[in-house]
Symmetry: C2
DNA sequence: CAGGACTGTGATATCGTTCTCAGAAATCAC
DNA sequence: GTGATTTCTGAGAACGATATCACAGTCCTG
């Protein structure tokens, strides 16, 4: 009846086929010593012939590492995260690890749920772009129980985990200075209110540049979900409107561009603009956007290496305090009013 | 020494805490019958108090379903796939399934590797946007061994699996007709050469429209990796150049737009354009792109439901022959030369 | 050549859960 | 009241892999 026949080949089948014990086969699979050359070949031949694949659930249960990393990002639609995720998967695969990728879509409850799944799934280690301070408890607890964790792009205070960040402050500082150097005095900083610390760092960079130049910082911060476009338009209609906008991230940049287009406000003539976080299509927009480029792939790679290193070095709690900060790059395009320096890069 | 203390709570701990056997706890966890009301409460209280979480590896090993779906997409950077993946994860989570997401980045060997991992990981079922005919063997074999499979967006011949597709032919037919209706006679069809059947269907739709109008189809097909932009530019410099371009997908659309921009060829004045596959920023481009929108999220949702249904109905081999085809929508913007019908949608 | 160290191999216990079966108590049928 | 069913419960055997231990041999080393 049920075609659910146990057609799966087990280690015992292989052992039987070779006329040896299961331990010998196990040793061959794991590349351990104490197996004769001839035996290795014999077993490998049988494995290939029977198309045997070790049952991961059994291996995991027995206590060995699950060879699986958990990767939690806020969203997959943001190219920054998808690039990052791709890099993680690539490096992990090279090192023999699988990746379980989760997108919590900025939902705290989803993130908590996913984190709680991590333990029951015997995940070897966690790479996370934390969405909310709320998940702190879950993460702390996992960390306490010895789970290696590396935070990417953002950090949560009070968690002793690896960190791979970008130079948010420096990037914002440079971007803001660029606007100042081009004569702008009233620069509006637009973004989501301190959702996480990297946004705070970007705000700090902006503020530092403004104050250094003796200018008054000016913020338009909203909660995520509140339409920011109309607010910006309103700000531009005020007396003494800002002559430039510094957008704290990708999502707000697009929202602002969309609103400005709708209202037929010209960039950079009526208002100049620089955004934090570059994206592929930025150069093909109606007004190519000057933006701070983050090394998304590099961030993913470094974070994964850090995690795997700490996995390899036993339950290396000490190693986890590592911290890497990657540089950013200001990509000049037309939205800030100065001619682009570089040629348009072909997207082919 | 090693902080790797077995701090993990097992079902035996819970049982001991309640003074019952493990089977009783197991029954409570799985919501089975034959447990008294009072006992259920007692056990649930203990589970909560001890923060017990069942070990998935053990459950999986014992033969129960792993409650995990494998999702294989060609790439995460393509918004079509990331939207689709997101929808899959959402529906799966609602139904109590986890998702293992893999991006094979169009590499056949990676795809094969990932497929082979599926079995050893006791994946319950597979959702795949197949990249290559090469993976056919792997997939066929999995299918033979009773693994439920649903193919999304593309199909591979000779595999008896569920299919969720979009109306490629109809969408292309309509898009091409739109150009024809606006007076275009020489329309160039640009894309990657028949990589998979959905591209073939799009080409068929284009051809059907052209032939119906008594026009000569004209193709510019390259292999993935070959820069298509310069070829298009060259084609436009020929005598009797095409007056419109129909791009078979997202990636070629962007490549073409980029090349046209580089060469300062104006759209739609010098050449009109329609692309298959819409994307978020299409409306903010220098020339907002008219495109065939595919219901990416709906595709993911339907596919996931189909897979889970077949999982629930036992090893329902019959059910797997199901096939769903979703409609597309032509989004009119300026690149095709006619005014956009709709207002610009706010991106906030 | 005796004692130690290393190599090659297999029996057996074990990981945490669920399945099978069996027993005890309660309920029902007549 | 006796037998049959149903409810509630637990002991023990899996699931498939690996760690541990045990036991031959083999190779040194003095």
């Amino acid at each position: 009846m049920s075609m659910r026949s146990r057609s799966v080949v087990t280690i015992a089948d292989v052992a039987r086929a070779c006329g040896v014990g299961t331990m010998t086969v196990s040793r061959v699979i794991n590349g351990k010593k104490h197996v004769s050359e001839a035996m290795v070949r014999r077993v490998e031949e049988a494995i290939a012939r029977l198309n045997y694949q070790p049952n991961e659930a059994a291996r995991t249960l027995k206590g060995r590492t699950s060879r699986t990393l958990g990767l939690i990002v806020p969203s997959l639609s943001d190219p920054f995260f998808s690039q990052c995720a791709h890099a993680v998967q690539q490096v992990a695969a090279e090192q023999g690890y699988m990746t379980m990728l989760f997108a919590c879509e900025a939902s705290h409850s989803v993130e908590a749920e996913e984190l709680s799944q991590m333990r029951s799934r015997n995940i070897a280690g966690i790479l996370i772009v934390p969405s909310s301070e709320n998940s702190m408890e879950q993460l702390k607890e996992l960390r306490r129980s010895g789970m290696p964790v590396v935070m990417m792009d953002r950090t949560i205070a009070g968690i002793d985990a690896g960190e791979v960040m970008v130079e948010n402050l420096e990037g914002s500082f440079r971007a803001t200075n660029h606007l100042i150097d081009h004569g702008h005095r009233r620069i509006l900083c637009v973004g989501y209110d301190r959702e996480y610390n990297s946004i705070g760092q970007r705000m700090d960079g902006y503020r530092k540049a403004m104050q250094t130049a003796g200018l008054q910082p000016q913020y338009l911060l909203v909660k995520r979900g509140v339409p920011v476009g109309p607010r910006v338009v309103a700000a531009l209609r005020a007396v003494k409107p800002p002559t430039a906008i510094f957008s704290l991230n990708n999502v707000t940049s697009v929202a602002v561009l969309s609103a400005l287009k709708r209202e037929k406000i010209r960039i950079p003539e009526q208002v100049a603009m620089v955004g934090f976080d570059d994206f592929e299509l930025a150069s093909l927009l109606a007004v190519p956007l000057t933006a701070v480029r983050q090394p998304a792939a590099e961030l993913g790679r470094q974070a994964t290496r850090m995690l795997i290193d700490s996995l390899r070095s036993g339950s290396g709690n000490q190693q986890m305090s590592a911290r890497i900060v990657l540089p950013t790059e200001l990509i000049l395009r037309q939205s800030c009013g100065c001619e682009p320096l570089a040629q348009i890069t072909p997207l082919d």
